[in-house]
């Protein structure tokens, strides 16, 4: 069995968890085994999400429950998942490489005494085992590895693995398992989730990323990029390190080696020259577009399409053209 941890927020399943489940189904089929979904929670939220996940084709859905698991805690959730592993003995365990997945998976792996493949962009079957490929140096190199012990634990990068089709036929009932959490076991937990005011999509989860660099000349001009991003259904505004270090936009928007690594369908680099540490963070985008007035800018060496021109003239026009096309 390949078990997949399904992350829920406000009773909804995360798309990146469904991507991980889709990949688990494909690899499980290749190995002739089952894929299962794991939900952890303290009550109704996870149950509601279980119904959602069941239609997505796992052979089984497991609901790991304890009132103490209503709020996320790495300690409590790691115990729940490790207890499940002790009972069900999956051969592999997948997480989405989200903020929660990256926090939880290493804790689970250490609890089980096994290795972990972080932030994978490819999973293959080789001699009956899984082989994971993951970018290192923010994508300047690719490392392939296998894991010596079972379960083979991995986190899968969001936006990389295609969503599989929803499964026809009756969805499996969720099997409930009560998790034991002794008093005092959980010494840290999430007390509150503060939403970003704009409720934007995160750059790592967006289908389209519109990023600005030094060429934006100042924080006020990022409004141009926000307007362009607003044309697309799931878009986010990103930035180069120099724009972030100049204080023009928050560091959570930074794309590159000391920021986030993104792989959207479309990456628009606006006024970004293309320093090597930035290129590392966005080179795995499916389509790259650069707008820059300097024809020698290194960004053009990796861009599928480029416009040499003044971004302040090009971007408003591009917004209008794309808007017409999408409508």
């Amino acid at each position: 069995m390949i078990a997949v941890f399904i992350e829920t927020r406000d009773g909804k399943t995360k798309k990146s968890s469904l991507e991980a489940l889709s990949e688990a189904r494909r690899r499980a089929e290749e190995l002739g085994i089952e894929a299962a979904a794991l939900l952890v929670g303290g009550g109704t939220g996870a149950s509601a999400a279980a119904v959602d996940v069941a239609s997505f084709g796992p052979a089984r859905v497991h609901l790991l429950e304890n009132a103490a698991l209503a709020d996320y805690s790495a300690q409590g959730y790691a115990k729940a998942v490790a207890d499940f592993v002790a009972v069900a003995h999956p051969s592999a365990l997948f997480f989405a490489a989200t903020a929660m997945g990256k926090d939880l998976a290493p804790r689970v792996a250490a609890r089980l005494g096994v290795g972990l493949a972080s932030d994978c962009t490819r999973v293959a079957v080789r001699d009956g085992k899984l082989e994971f490929t993951r970018p290192i140096y923010a994508g300047k190199a690719l490392l392939s590895l296998t894991l010596a012990s079972t379960p083979q634990v991995a986190t899968l990068r969001p936006n990389v693995f295609p969503l599989g089709p929803a499964a026809p036929g009756p969805a499996p009932e969720a099997a409930r398992m009560a998790v034991e959490i002794p008093d005092g076991f959980v010494k840290g937990r999430v007390a509150e989730v503060l939403k970003e005011a704009s409720a934007e999509v995160d750059v790592t989860e967006a289908d389209v990323v519109v990023s600005g660099g030094r060429g934006m000349k100042g924080p006020e001009n990022f409004a141009l990029l926000r307007e362009l991003a607003a044309v697309f259904p799931r878009a986010a505004v990103g930035a180069s390190r120099s724009a972030v270090d100049s204080g023009w936009i928050g560091h959570q928007h930074q794309v590159g080696q000391t920021g986030k690594t993104v792989s959207p369908n479309l990456y628009l680099a606006v006024g970004i020259s293309g320093a090597i540490q930035h290129l590392a963070g966005m080179s795995s985008s499916k389509c790259i577009v650069a707008v820059n007035k300097d024809p020698e800018a290194p960004i053009f060496k990796v861009a599928d399409y480029g416009i040499v021109g003044d971004l302040f003239e090009v971007i408003p026009k591009l917004k209008d053209e794309l808007k017409k096309m999408i409508e």
Binding site: Q75, T98, A99, M100, D103, A105, P106, R107, A109, A110, R111, G115, L116, D119, R126, E131, P135, I136, A138, K140, A141, L145, A148, K187, G188, R189, V190, A191, V193, L194, E196, A199, D202, T204, H251, G256, Q257, T258, G259, N265, L266, A275, I276, Q277, K286, C287, I288, V289, P295, V302, A303, Y305, I307, V308, E313, L318, D320, E321, L322, K324
Partner: protein, 260 residues
Amino acid sequence: MNIVVFVKRVPDTESRIRIQHETRSVAEDGLNFVASPYDEFAVEEALRLKESKGGVVRVASVGRDEAVPVLRKCLAMGADEAVLIKDEAPESYDGLRTARIIARAVERRFAGADLLLFGKQAVGTDNGQVPSMVAELLGLPQANVVTKLEIEGGAGTALREVEGGTEKVVFSLPAVVSAQKGLNEPRYETLKGIMAAKKKDIPVVRLEDLGLAAGDLTPEVVVTGLDVPPQRQAGKVLRGDAAETARELAALLHAEAKVI
């Protein structure tokens, strides 16, 4: 406050990475090595906590002798003590191996620490595994990817980045915290600090001193390949009137790239 910060020596982010295919390793010649940038935020936070609450800041690195300059930099920033946990093994990309060494070092060499600080990941291996693994091995709470940290009495509150928002994590001490960019602005070393750091002795702890035998650290990760990704090719470049190039680009994104 008794704080220990764990730091790693890594190639700086401007580095071009070349692969040595025979050894499946990254060629080190010509690279400029620095403290991993996220580790600097961790050191800075430790120093600020010490300045406001008193205590001691110790810094440790697991690695070869080459890690000593990174430790000296931390001393020059103001750390009280730096320790090299000497590990001659080449990069294993195995977070659990490093976490086992660090967890044992905390028990044997840094017993009584209130706070274990890390960078959220080492730039390079990009694993982001070690802080959570150390926390689990020692039974401690964790707060990762932290942009704000407050310690009061025996407890801490941290803000950590999640998709589209921020989580407030509350935890008791001792605890593991890993730093994200935005936590603070690391200070530069002063000349006085650099001179003082040069004179300081950096004790070396060997794996045997920690009671670790080779068999305890069998790698869980088996490297099967290391390569550079395929180079992207430069594509079509449009020049000329803004309105025309914008129209042309929109059409190409729709008809050719099929992303719209």
